[in-house]
Amino acid sequence: MKKRYAFVLLIYCIGFIASLWGYHQKPLIITDKGRLLPTKIKAIHAADDSADLQQWIKKVAVNHEKISIAGMQHSQGGHTLYPGGIMLDMRDYDEIIAYHPKEKMITVQSGATWADIQKEINPDGLAVRVMQSQNIFTVGGSISVNAHGRDIRYGSLMSTVKSFRLLTADGEILNVSRTENNDLFPLVLGGYGLFGIILDVTLELTDDELYQIRFKEMDYEDYPDYFRHKVKQNPKARMHIARISVAPESFLQEMYVKDYVLADNQKLRPEYSDLDREWFVAAPKFFLGLSRYSEWGKDLLWNWQKRYFQYQDDNYITRNNVMRSDSKFLEYHNPNRTETLQEYYVPVDEFVSYIDDLRDLLEEEDLNLLNITVRYVGYDEEEPVLTYTHGEDMFALVLLMNQELGNKATKQTTEVVRKMIDLTLAHGGSYYLPYYSYPSQQQFEKAYPRNDVFFKKKRRYDPHEVFMNLFYKEYGP
C-alpha cells in the first residue's frame, strides 16, 4: 500500500513540476505591471550576447518587424510592449563586465539589476550614486526612464552615467558618452527604449556610507522650510524621503520625513554593511490590504507606518541598504483591480499651495489613493530632452492608486488624473512618463515642450521605426 501511495505521489509531483514549467513558458499576451494594457505580441526574444543581438537586429529589420525592449516591465504605459511586435527581454543580459573599485567605476550589461550591482560592490565599501528606492529594476530600464530616488546630492540617474554602448536600428554599435555621439546621450537617457538597445553601461559609483536615520513628524506647511534648512543646507544629510498622509483623519496635512544623515563614526559601518533581505512582508501587506478596502484601513495604515518608522529613529543604516527598500508587500494580483502610479513634480516653492489645491481637488473626487511619498530632485544643468525638472529644484510626489480593471474605471481615473496634472502644470510642475497614458496629448506637450525634438530625432536615428512601444504610439507624431 505504501508503495502505491508513493507511486501516486510521484506521478503527481511530476505533473506539478511539469505544470509549473509550462506555466512559466506560457506567453504571449503580455502586460506590464500596470496590467491595463494586455498586448498580443508576436514573440519574445531573450537577449544574451551582443554579437548575436547585432545579427538578430539586422535580420529583424529586413523582415520589417517591430521591437519593444523590456526589462522588469514596471513601467505602466506599455513602454515595453507593441502589438504584433517582438519583445526583447533583456533580463538575461546581466553580466558585470568590468569593475574598478579604485576608480569607483563599474560596467554592466543593461539587464543587470541594481541588486546585482549592490552584491558586487558592497564588499568593497562602494555604493550606487543614484537609483530608485527599490533595487529590483534593470539598469537599462532605469536609464530609459532616467530614474531618481532618495539621494539628494547627485540629481537624476543621468548624472552618474559615464557612457554606454547602443545597438542602433541598423545594427551598428555606438559608444555614447558626453564626448562621443553626444547627441544621443540626452535622448537615450529618458528615451523609453526608442533609440536602440542599450548594451552595456558604465556607471560612476560612490562610497558606501553609514547613515543615522532622523525621523520627524510635521505639518505639510513646515515641510519646504524644513527641507531647505535642515536637509538641503546640512551637508551631512545625504538622502531623504517623506510621506504625506492620504488617511481621512489627516488627509494631505500630516507628513513625516526620514533623513539619512552621515553618522559621526564611520568606522561602525562594517557592522551594518550586510545587505538586508526583505523579511518583513506580511504586516505591511496586511495593512495595505486593509487600506485598499476602507477609510479606517487608511487611518490604520498611516498610524502604523508612522509608528514603525518612528521606531527606526536614530537607527544606523548603510547607503546600500537605504537603496534596497522593500517592494514585495506592494505586489498586487487582484484579477479585477490593479494599482497604478503617478508621479508629479512640483517646484519646492510651490509645494504648500500645490498641496492645498490638490486637497481641494481630491476631496471632491472619488479616487482610491493609497500612498504618497515625497522625494527631492535637484535641478541639473545637464538634462535629458524629455526632462521632468524644467530647470528648477523639485519635490516629486509619487501617488499609488487602486482602480478596477476595464475601460470604465480607467476612464474615471483618467478624468481625475487629468485634473491633477492640470493643477500640477499650473504650479509650474510636470509629471513622470513611465506610467499609464492617462494624460492627454496636450498635457504631454505642455509638460514636455521639447517632445518635437525628441520625436524628430527618433525618426532620424530609427527611420523605419524598428523600436516601437505603446508610449510612442500614443504620444508620438
Binding site: Y5, L9, Y12, G15, S19, G22, Y23, K26, H333, N334
Partner: protein, 179 residues
C-alpha cells in the same frame, strides 16, 4: 471508508472548489470574447454532467463509491495543474467537458454514499448535519478567497487547490475497510 473520513474529504473538496471557482469563472470570462462563448463554456459543463449521470451511477454500484471518489480527487488535482496553462477558448471548452464529467462523479457519489450509509429513520438528521459541516467549509473557502487574492497569484491559487484535492484523496484512500 468510514463516515467521518468521508465528511472530512468532502469538506476539503468543497473548500477547494469554492476557492478556485470565482477565478475559474474569471478565466472563462477573460478568455472568451463574448457572452455567447461564456454561455457555451457553461452549457458544455452542465450538458456533459447531464449525459454522464446514469453511467456514473452504474459504475458507482459496481466499483464502489470510494474508488470513484479517488478517481474524482486525482482527476481534479490533475485538472487544477492544467488550468493555469490554458490560453485559448477551445481549451476552456475541453476543460469544461472534463469538469462536467467530474462534477457529476462528485455529486452522484456524494449522494450514493450518504444513501448507502444512512439509516432510513434518521437519514434526514444525518444528511442535515452532513450538509452543515460541508457547507461551512465551503463558506470558509469562499470568504477566504476574497482576501487570498490580494496576497497570492491566481495561478498559485489553482496550484494550492490542486494540493488540497490530493490531500482529500489521501484522506479517502487510507486503509480501513471499503464502503
Amino acid at each position: 471508508m468510514i463516515y467521518r473520513r468521508f465528511v472530512t474529504a468532502q469538506s476539503i473538496i468543497m473548500a477547494a472548489g469554492s476557492i478556485v471557482f470565482p477565478f475559474y469563472l474569471l478565466l472563462i470570462k477573460n478568455l472568451g470574447e463574448s457572452y455567447s462563448q461564456f454561455g457555451w463554456a457553461y452549457g458544455l459543463f452542465t450538458l456533459t454532467a447531464a449525459l454522464v449521470y446514469p453511467f456514473i451511477g452504474r459504475v458507482g454500484d459496481s466499483i464502489g463509491d470510494k474508488k470513484l471518489l479517488l478517481i474524482y480527487t486525482w482527476s481534479m488535482a490533475g485538472l487544477m495543474l492544467v488550468i493555469p496553462l490554458v490560453t485559448d477558448v477551445w481549451q476552456i471548452y475541453m476543460v469544461q467537458i472534463v469538469m462536467g464529467l467530474l462534477g457529476a462523479v462528485q455529486k452522484n457519489t456524494e449522494k450514493t454514499f450518504l444513501a448507502r450509509d444512512a439509516e432510513k429513520e434518521t437519514a434526514g438528521r444525518k444528511i442535515g448535519s452532513y450538509h452543515l459541516k460541508v457547507s461551512l467549509w465551503s463558506a470558509a473557502g469562499i470568504i477566504a478567497t476574497g482576501y487570498l487574492v490580494d496576497f497570492l497569484t491566481i495561478a498559485s491559487l489553482f496550484y494550492m487547490t490542486s494540493i488540497l484535492y490530493m490531500m482529500a484523496s489521501f484522506v479517502i484512500w487510507r486503509k480501513q475497510g471499503a464502503v
